[in-house]
């Protein structure tokens, strides 16, 4: 049965051993590009910008040879939440910019569905998709060791300000490293409890209450084993002479190639266009065109 196996197949943090242009980029360059693109996704406030971003990201996914299924797999567990948020926004977003900004589509009592709420939902879904693809792309194409080194190097100028760059990178590496391990552990515990008759898949009228109560037999053993692992890890690190980041040299020597600069420049220009290019106006034009068309059709039907 796949219901238990699903947990150990979390794609976040699971490096896919393909070989592609995206895989070969310098991790520092990738982190910078990731940050830029996250900013672009966060602040893109028009359909046009979002759609263009999504298209470009899908292009990069293709370029990295990652199956799209993998890039989007993390989305499935989030679907119910997306649905809930979408519903809330549909019902209560209403009209924050004054009556002129949006047109009311349907209203009943205190519920007011406006063109703004529809827009908000559309953008939110696009944004979530893009975030998911971005995060998956980063972790699916970069080894955690590379990522950690990249992060540490990027943050190292801050070390002078006593910023714990090395420690932060280590925490990051450990959490990425142990995500699949803990997921595997969770699967094992689920199977053990299911063998004792626990039911995790069951949906009923009060399914969610049952589900929450059913979490206890999973969480207690999971936390215990996580704590045990943490203790083992500490001992193992100390036994191998780990004393913190000071004076540590590295086996992986990062080297920035011309292709990295090229990719960085491309992403930078792209993000600038998305954020400053005034793509909202295209939205406006498309909207007016669509609404004109719609009113013509409606008008025609009414007549």
């Amino acid at each position: 049965m796949t219901e238990y196996s699903a947990f150990s197949h979390l794609t976040i943090g699971q490096y896919l051993p393909y070989s592609s242009v995206v895989h070969r980029l310098d991790p520092r360059a990738k982190l910078v590009m990731f940050t830029l693109l996250v900013a672009a996704v966060t602040f893109a406030n028009s359909y046009t910008a979002s759609v263009v971003l999504l298209a470009v990201l899908l292009g990069v996914v293709h370029l990295s040879r990652t199956p799209l299924r993998y890039a989007l797999q993390g989305l499935r567990p989030a679907l119910p939440w997306i649905a809930v948020f979408a519903l809330l926004q549909l019902l209560f977003y209403r009209n924050p910019y004054g009556p002129d900004a949006c047109s009311t589509i349907w209203s009943w009592g205190f519920i007011d569905i406006t063109s703004c709420s529809i827009r908000q939902i559309g953008l939110m879904i696009l944004r979530l998709l893009e975030f998911m693809i971005l995060i998956s792309l980063l972790t699916l194409t970069t080894r955690t060791t590379e990522l950690t080194h990249g992060l540490e190097r990027l943050l190292s100028p801050l070390k002078r300000l006593r910023f714990p760059a090395h420690e932060l990178a280590l925490v990051f590496a450990i959490s990425l490293r142990f995500a699949p391990t803990l997921a595997g552990e969770l699967e094992r515990i689920m199977k053990a409890q299911a063998s004792r008759g626990a039911d995790f898949g069951e949906q009923g009228r009060l399914g969610f209450i049952k589900r929450t109560r059913n979490l206890l037999p999973l969480l207690v053993p999971l936390f215990l084993s996580a704590l045990r692992r943490a203790e083992d890890l500490t001992l193992a690190m100390e036994a191998r002479g780990y004393t913190g980041g000071r004076g540590r040299t590295s086996f992986i020597q990062l080297k920035v190639l011309p292709s990295d600069y090229l990719a960085l420049a491309l992403v930078f220009i792209f993000c600038a266009i998305i954020l400053l290019g005034g793509l909202e106006s295209i939205d406006q034009q498309v909207f007016t065109a669509v609404s004109d068309c719609a009113s013509n059709v409606f008008g025609f039907v009414r007549r």
């Binding site: 049965m1 008759g197 053993p221």
Partner: protein
């Protein structure tokens, strides 16, 4: 005798169609009769754990057949709860699945899940605790996480026994236990079969315990059943076993060594006392001792 478990040409692949695809089972065949103790042995990664997870429906057959008490597990309308009451699966290091504060509650988790009434649950918990050798009154209100490792494992096993399954599956039951506790566990497993007529399936790396307990052995290598037979039949083929990365019990290896040096001894021996008798018979030890003294 009726077959309580039948496996026919079972195949399983993890994550098919992904870069992590891994073939685990490539054609396993086995049959277990009622009241038998059957051991499954094989090197690490041979698919033993995948195989036993089929038996209580944690994994459904992808290709091939698994029949438990005559029910086909490929049938999706099969009642999984029924199956899990019939087949008790005890995972490796089961003490790591404990979660309740009190011993009694943890053991009662299974029976409660199957909707049994309070008196019935209490009676089953009591019986299960006594079977594993934990006094009911003494241990039921003890804090689970204050117990020793061996006691915790007993609690975990009692948690499965309380379901009163007809087939019991143990995955490495003695792994990580000290020798005394380990042999105590093994005799408990034997008692379960002898006194309560449970069918037992045992997965183990410990050839000594397999030799002591099992009526029959299946050897699984790279997801295939390669050998089947009684412990005597299996362990007398020590060369073949070694080629699979396995070994016979040490006593049996000693006998193989003697035979290899040209001594005409039986090699299908499983216990120290059997070997002692055989060696004594062949070499007439007492006479030799007398000679060396003189």
């Amino acid at each position: 005798m009726t077959h309580v478990l039948e496996v026919e040409d079972l195949h399983h692949t993890y994550l098919p169609g992904s870069p992590f695809e891994a073939v685990s089972l490539r054609g396993v065949n086995m049959r277990v009769e009622e009241g038998e103790i059957v051991a499954i042995i094989g090197p690490t990664g041979s698919g033993k754990s995948t195989l036993i997870q089929h038996f209580n429906g944690l994994i459904r057959p992808q290709k091939g057949k698994v029949l438990v008490l005559g029910q086909d597990l490929s049938d999706h309308s099969l009642d999984v709860k029924w199956l899990r009451r019939q087949v008790g699966l005890i995972f490796q290091t089961p003490e790591q699945q404990l979660f309740e504060q009190y011993v009694g509650d943890d053991i009662a988790f299974g029976p409660r899940n199957f909707g049994l009434g309070r008196p019935e649950v209490r009676q089953r918990v009591k019986k299960a605790m006594e079977t594993v050798g934990l006094g009911f009154e003494e241990f039921k209100d003890r804090m689970t996480f204050s117990l020793s490792g061996g006691e915790m494992r007993k609690v975990a096993i009692a948690g499965v026994l309380a379901l009163e399954p007809t087939i019991l599956i143990f995955d490495e039951p003695t792994c990580g236990l000290d020798p005394a506790t380990a042999s105590e566990f093994l005799s408990k497993i034997r008692e379960l079969r002898d006194q309560e007529e449970r069918t037992v399936i045992l997965v183990s790396h410990d050839m000594e315990s397999v030799a002591k307990l099992a009526d029959r052995i299946y050897v699984i290598v790279q997801g295939r059943t390669v050998l089947e037979g009684t412990p005597r039949q299996i362990f007398s083929q020590s060369g073949l076993l070694r080629s699979y990365g396995l070994d016979a019990p040490q006593v049996t290896q000693v006998m193989h060594g003697l035979r290899h040096r040209g001594r005409e001894v039986r090699v299908d021996l499983l216990s120290v006392s059997e070997a002692e008798k055989e060696i004594g018979r062949r070499f007439d030890l007492r006479q030799r001792q007398a000679e060396t003294v003189a």
